[in-house]
């Protein structure tokens, strides 16, 4: 299911929270919704879910205006929220029923998801008796047990140990593979890069950047080359001597085996490769240095708010 937001505006009193926010999340893919704290992510999510009304703009699913009653949403808020004093199975079934499942289906789905999350033994325990990480898993079960068509995950990995994080990764990958539209909001860029094909960066209520991650990265000048070689120092003097006209700088960075070469023009990459392949240097890696998502995020958001 394709989810498309067009020119969404929202004011709270005098404060403009969202200004012409537009992005598209495709079915079977994950979209990373990024932004600093207070950028408007939660408000955007709440408008999608129908908690708030937008002042202007449209939301469409598969090309027609959104009919929320016909869509199964799975939402995991950043502020985890369940009933601490209720039995886990009770509240999971209750929430699934509210999301439109019959009681018997909700019961089956509850068992299935508790099993998937390796939490079956806690079915009849109160939520407050569980550790933070396990509560997080219950929250995830609550989000996913209604077979959602659109899943919105806000910081799903916070508080999970590496084993549980792996479990969650598998679950998210399965969902994406099954065609679910996933909206993923996180400040842990490694997870965004792992799951999301596209991102939309919100800053001060504006979408400052959106598109496919690989295209965004390719849009940066590809004039920085990373070479990993045990003969780094020799290699630096060699290329500086051989290609002085094409290279701006060549120096070690962080690791003594890493050499970063800045070309005068990205097109000189091929000649650099040729020069090196003709030489007898032992080269482990030759790659274009792309900006990390973190760098892109900081670049687009640090001026804001």
């Amino acid at each position: 299911m394709e989810l498309k937001l067009t020119d969404i505006c929202k004011n709270f009193g005098e404060k403009e929270v969202l200004k012409n926010v537009s992005f598209t999340a495709e079915g079977g893919k994950a979209l990373g919704l990024l932004g600093r704290n207070g950028a408007g992510k939660t408000t955007t999510i709440r408008i999608i879910m129908g908690v708030f009304f937008a002042d202007s703009g449209t939301i469409e699913t598969d090309g027609s205006p959104i009919q929320r009653s016909n869509i199964r949403f799975g939402y995991m808020p950043e502020e985890r929220g369940l009933y601490p004093k209720q039995l886990i199975s009770n509240q999971l079934i209750y929430l699934a029923q509210l999301r439109g499942m019959s009681r018997s289906d909700a019961q089956k789905s509850c068992d299935k998801w508790l099993d998937r999350m390796e939490m079956s033994e806690y079915k009849n325990k109160k939520l407050e008796t569980l550790s933070k990480g396990n509560q997080q898993k219950i929250q995830l079960a609550a989000t996913l047990m209604c077979h959602p068509q659109i899943v919105i995950l806000d910081e799903p990995f916070s508080g999970l140990d590496p084993v549980n994080a792996m479990l969650l990764k598998d679950v998210i990958k399965e969902m994406i593979a099954s065609g679910t539209t996933v909206l993923f909001s996180s400040h842990q860029m490694n997870y965004i890069e792992e799951f999301c094909e596209s991102i939309a960066i919100l800053n001060d209520g504006h979408i400052v950047l959106d598109g496919k991650i690989n295209q965004i990265k390719r849009s940066y000048p590809r004039d920085k080359i990373l070479i990993i070689s045990p003969q780094a120092e020799k290699l630096i003097s060699f290329v500086l001597q051989k290609m002085s006209g094409e290279i701006l700088t060549a120096q070690n960075e962080d690791d003594p085996h890493h050499v970063i070469i800045k070309l005068k023009d990205p097109d000189f990459k091929l000649s650099l490769m040729r020069v090196l392949s003709d030489s007898s240097f032992d080269i482990d890696c030759f790659q274009v240095c792309e900006p990390s998502l973190n760098d892109i995020f900081v670049q687009y958001t640090e001026a804001g708010i």
């Binding site: 709440r46 009304f53 002042d55 939402y75 929220g81 509210l98």
Partner: protein, 419 residues
């Protein structure tokens, strides 16, 4: 509608499975039942001994020849039926000794035609309040009979003239306010506590959901109006369950009491006419919905349970003022004052005021129906308003807004929705 039912069911079960709720209900029922059966229980333990030939207490009377001994004894016997009256000539020391060792319950020594000495072991308020006026009456009668006899009127005739009984009948053309006094009083107290208790329960439940952020999930699963209605109706039904259980035990208790030998006037006063109970349930439900929606809506702005009190103060003031007006009216027996009449049509005061007037006064059925209709319409409008406030309030955290700010937020929200 489906959502309302689901929320309702969840809220109802959460309420009735709550330990505090169960314990309160059991304690209430147990104390009411105990109260009703106490006389019966006491009878079991003490009933036998009363008929067990226990000695009849003795009252000693020393006439000192001022009055005829037999007439004096008869007069005393008339008043103190269950006592043995002993006319004696013992001197004061002997009398004191016998009273002290409890041979006599008490003694009356006539010192002159119009003066006497009352001898008792321990003086108490009961003596001065009850016994002395009775003895005064006896001596007065004796003096009158004695005096009239000097004019040739026999003591029998004197007695007849003096004891001329007046019979009276009261016809209440409206409702007899004395009859329903106790039942209405109890119902009003119950209504006051119940509405407040269950209304607060709604408040607490909303703040708890906000506090645990369960609201973040709920608000995306169901419409705020459905959540609000489900919650209020669910808690209301839980309250009704508790009320029915408590009223049920009250009935059991009352029927146990009525089998005891209570004076008929008292039985009439404590009896619970079924009509009163039905009115109480109707007005409980109306009052509960009116105040729960208000409490619920206002509490949705609270982040901590301590904020509830600050936010609900204006509503509480109206509520307590109504209660005071009603209690004063019941006590002064004037439940149809202009203030009460007006209040029985104002939605916020009507539940208590109309209940009192319906049970204690002669209110036409159509007046009650108008009041009920006004309240039902108010509940509907309040429900919609409460759901709107709730939608705005539940996602606001931090310091609760002032009343003026809440109104401003509502106007803004209305404008947004109009667009």
């Amino acid at each position: 509608m489906k959502h309302i039912l689901q929320v309702l069911q969840f809220e109802y079960l959460t309420c009735v499975k709550n330990k505090a709720f169960i314990i309160t209900t059991i304690i209430f029922m147990a104390s009411i039942l105990l109260l009703g059966f106490i006389p019966a229980i006491i009878m079991i333990f003490t009933g036998d001994t009363s008929s067990d030939g226990k000695e009849t207490p003795v009252i000693a009377v020393v006439s000192n020849r001022y009055y005829d001994d037999k007439t004096l004894a008869d007069e005393f016997q008339n008043i103190y039926e269950d006592y043995e009256i002993k006319i004696t000539n013992e001197n004061m020391d002997a009398i004191k000794k016998n009273v002290n060792n409890e041979t006599y319950e008490f003694a009356v020594v006539i010192d002159d035609k119009l003066s006497y000495t009352f001898v008792t072991k321990n003086n108490s308020l009961i003596n001065t309040e009850t016994k002395l006026p009775l003895i005064n009456g006896i001596i007065q009668d004796m003096y009158r009979m004695d005096s009239f006899e000097k004019f040739g009127i026999s003591s029998k005739d004197t007695k007849e003239i003096l004891s001329a009984d007046i019979s009276s009948t009261t016809i209440a053309t409206g409702k007899d306010q004395t009859k329903n006094y106790i039942s209405t009083y109890v119902m009003i107290m119950l209504l006051y506590i119940a509405i407040l208790m269950y209304g607060q329960m709604v408040s607490q439940s909303i703040v708890a959901e906000k506090n645990t952020r369960a609201m973040e999930m709920l608000i995306t699963c169901a419409k705020p109006a459905h959540l609000m209605f489900g919650k209020v109706i669910g808690s209301g039904l839980a309250g009704l369950t508790q009320l029915v259980l408590i009223l049920g035990s009250t009935f059991a208790s009352m029927s146990a009491l009525s089998t005891q030998t209570l004076p008929p006037e008292l039985q009439e006063m404590i009896s619970f006419p079924i009509q009163t109970v039905i009115y109480a349930i109707i007005f409980f439900l109306l009052g509960y919905f009116i105040f729960s929606f208000l409490f619920g809506a206002l509490s949705s702005f609270a982040t901590r349970s301590e904020d509830i009190n600050t936010l609900t103060t204006p509503v509480m003031l109206i509520y307590i003022a109504t209660f005071i007006i009603v209690i004063f009216s019941i006590n002064f027996g004037s439940v149809d004052t202009p203030l009460m009449v007006v209040c029985s049509y104002i939605p916020f005061t009507a539940p208590m005021c109309m209940l009192v007037r319906a049970t204690m006064s002669d209110v036409a059925l159509y007046e009650i129906l108008i009041s009920i209709a006004i309240q039902v319409i108010t509940i509907y409008l309040l429900g919609i308003l409460a759901a709107t406030i709730y939608r705005i309030g539940v996602l606001m955290y931090g310091k609760p807004p002032k009343m003026g700010e809440i109104i401003k937020l509502l106007i803004e929200d209305h404008k947004t929705n109009k667009k």
